[in-house]
């Protein structure tokens, strides 16, 4: 087989969700040479995840709430100008001073390659906020996104009797999908207090243009009521029970600050526990590239700092969608397009460069989309400190390296001078395992914050190093200049 060496791109995009697709299509339309890398096997990202092509497509899915989704996927599938690399993981960003370009390390099964690009767009999305409570490592405890994607893209229901606990609106949609699949939903518990009428009315003002989504949520809530599923507010997960797998959940009533009210524990039987307290921005690749980040807990933890055209602090690296703040599909898509327009301003042929008016128009649309997502965000913001207090002594904080809360707290007691999460990582091994800290960093940070009395944003974040996800030695040994 022949390989083309040093194949150069104008723009490399990591992530084929609404942000990455929006950017790739916009950039290709301006004549830029674009490659897209996504470790999933098809376009769509998390929200527009589709059933595999080998399945007969049934109607429905989340795309109905976002009419632009269907069109976006159709255009992406049809576009042959763009080099699509699915099933391909991006694990590192490097700079080639000689060629003045960025190099993206990617791997696909046992093959590895470096892609060269003049610009890089990181559009890696977000993942469910992990919450460490007693029993959270038992098989049968799943994230809301995990259950949702199994149902909607694989038509698999991972259990038969479900308890859903969280604070994110996604929980309602998952409960609805579960009911439709014939599952028993024992209860849906939101940690925040029941919203007051005033709050709901304030929310409605932001709705125009997002009616589909609101209707979907309202329909889900109605469906729960019709099936007699208790929808509780002011109720939080305390523990999962079970020996080799989950057999039930202990729920507890909480006050406005999510502090448990003594004596209100309830046990609910279930074989699957669905956790949805929010999302964390997926910033590992951007941080490894050197992008500056800021701590904004209600927007997804540490998020990448960007200017008005989605440029990060690193030359040649743009960031669109959720790594720059969790705000929904519409916003992510617009941000991707804006980044592509800005990139085309310098890289496209003179006749194809966008004018300021084109950027202005997208920026206006972004401000409008923000009105909605800001309201939603305030409404459902996770209380990170309260969630971190759920871990009892023998609860594992780090699932990969099996480090308990007691081990971390002990270390902090003995070393009162410790004031950054990387020191905890080095001493306790939290964050050194396969997931590279994605599942423990924020709990560790909250515990450190509690011990030192300092806010989380003063305690640093894990250093992200290449490879940002484990990559096989075989694929590194076979590293070549482009993907075959």
């Amino acid at each position: 087989m022949t390989t083309e060496h040093n194949e150069d791109y104008d723009l490399l995009v990591v992530g084929a969700g609404p942000a990455g697709l929006g950017a790739a299509l916009e950039a290709a339309a301006r004549g830029l040479k674009v490659a897209v890398v996504d470790e999933q096997h098809a376009p769509g990202g998390q929200i527009f995840r589709q059933p595999p092509g080998s399945f007969k497509q049934p109607e429905g899915g989340a795309k109905l709430a976002y009419p632009f989704g269907r069109e976006l996927l159709r255009r992406a599938r049809a576009d042959t100008r763009i080099a699509w690399h699915y099933g391909t993981m991006a694990w590192g960003v490097f700079r080639d001073p000689q060629q003045e370009c960025l190099r993206l390390g990617v791997s696909k099964n046992d093959a590895g390659a470096m892609l060269n690009g003049r610009a890089l767009l990181v559009a890696t999305g977000a993942y469910d906020l992990p919450v460490a409570f007693p029993g959270w490592t038992l098989p049968g405890v799943m994230s809301a996104g995990g259950v949702q994607t199994l149902l909607k893209s694989q038509f698999l229901r991972p259990g038969s009797r479900f308890v859903l606990a969280g604070s994110h609106p996604l929980l309602l949609l998952v409960a609805d999908l579960l009911l439709t699949s014939g599952a028993e939903v024992a209860e849906v518990a939101f940690a925040r207090p029941r919203p007051a009428i005033g709050e709901l009315l304030r929310g409605w003002r932001a709705v125009p243009g997002h009616l589909g989504l609101m209707l979907q949520a309202a329909r889900a809530a109605w469906n729960l009521k019709r099936h007699g599923v208790p929808l509780r507010f002011g109720s939080m997960i305390k523990a999962a029970s079970g020996a080799d797998a989950v057999d039930g959940a202990t729920m507890v009533d909480v006050d406005r600050d999510w502090r448990p009210l003594p004596g209100t524990e309830r046990h609910v039987e279930a074989d699957t526990l669905v956790i949805g307290y929010g999302l964390l921005a997926s910033t590992e690749l951007a941080r490894q590239a050197g992008c500056a980040v800021d701590y904004k807990p209600d927007e997804g933890g540490w998020i990448v700092r960007r200017d008005a055209t989605m440029r990060s602090s690193v030359d040649g690296v743009w960031v669109a969608g959720e790594p720059g703040g969790v705000g929904g599909a519409e916003l992510a898509h617009l941000e991707g397009r804006l980044a592509a327009l800005d990139i085309a301003r310098t890289l496209a042929a003179p006749g194809q460069r966008p004018g300021d008016d084109e950027l202005d128009a997208v920026q206006r649309a972004i401000r409008k989309a923000h009105r909605f997502s800001d309201v939603v965000r305030d409404f459902f913001a996770p209380n990170m400190a309260a969630l971190a207090r759920l871990a009892s002594g023998d609860t594992l904080v780090c699932r990969c390296e099996e480090v308990s809360a007691a081990e971390v707290r002990d270390f902090l007691d003995r070393n009162p001078h410790v004031s950054d999460v990387n020191s905890v990582k080095l001493a306790c091994r939290t964050g050194m395992g396969m997931c590279q800290g994605r599942y423990c960093q924020h709990t560790t940070a909250q515990m450190l914050s509690e011990a030192t009395g300092k806010p989380v944003d003063c305690l640093g974040h894990h250093t992200a190093r290449a490879p940002v996800k484990p990559v096989s030695v075989i694929s590194l040994a076979q590293l070549q200049d482009t993907l075959r």
Partner: protein
């Protein structure tokens, strides 16, 4: 009792293509092209995908490649995320 279920959103069947056979710890198991290894294992009733150094059972959490709890050995490659890997006819999977 088999708690996990392949659902049929259209009411009838005909959604899935013709099945293939994969081997889970040597035992032949049915799977459908387009399914991930995680889906096939869950559908086959597996509760334990991997066992930790301390002997605890683990199974998929995120289904999107982030948690690494679904790692199994696929055709001899250990540490493979089953939620990100598609089944293929004759594939050999080892849960630990």
């Amino acid at each position: 009792m088999l708690k996990t279920l392949r659902i049929q959103p259209n009411g009838g069947d005909g959604l899935r293509p013709a099945p293939v056979t994969i081997f889970v710890n040597g035992a032949p198991t049915t799977a459908y092209p387009g399914e991930t290894v995680a889906t096939a294992l869950l559908a086959a009733g597996s509760a334990r995908f991997r066992t930790t150094a301390r002997g605890a059972p683990r199974a998929p959490v995120c289904n999107m490649g982030v948690c690494f709890e679904c790692a199994v050995t696929v055709d001899g490659r250990p540490g493979t995320r089953s939620c990100m890997t598609l089944v293929a006819d004759g594939m050999r999977i080892e849960r630990s």
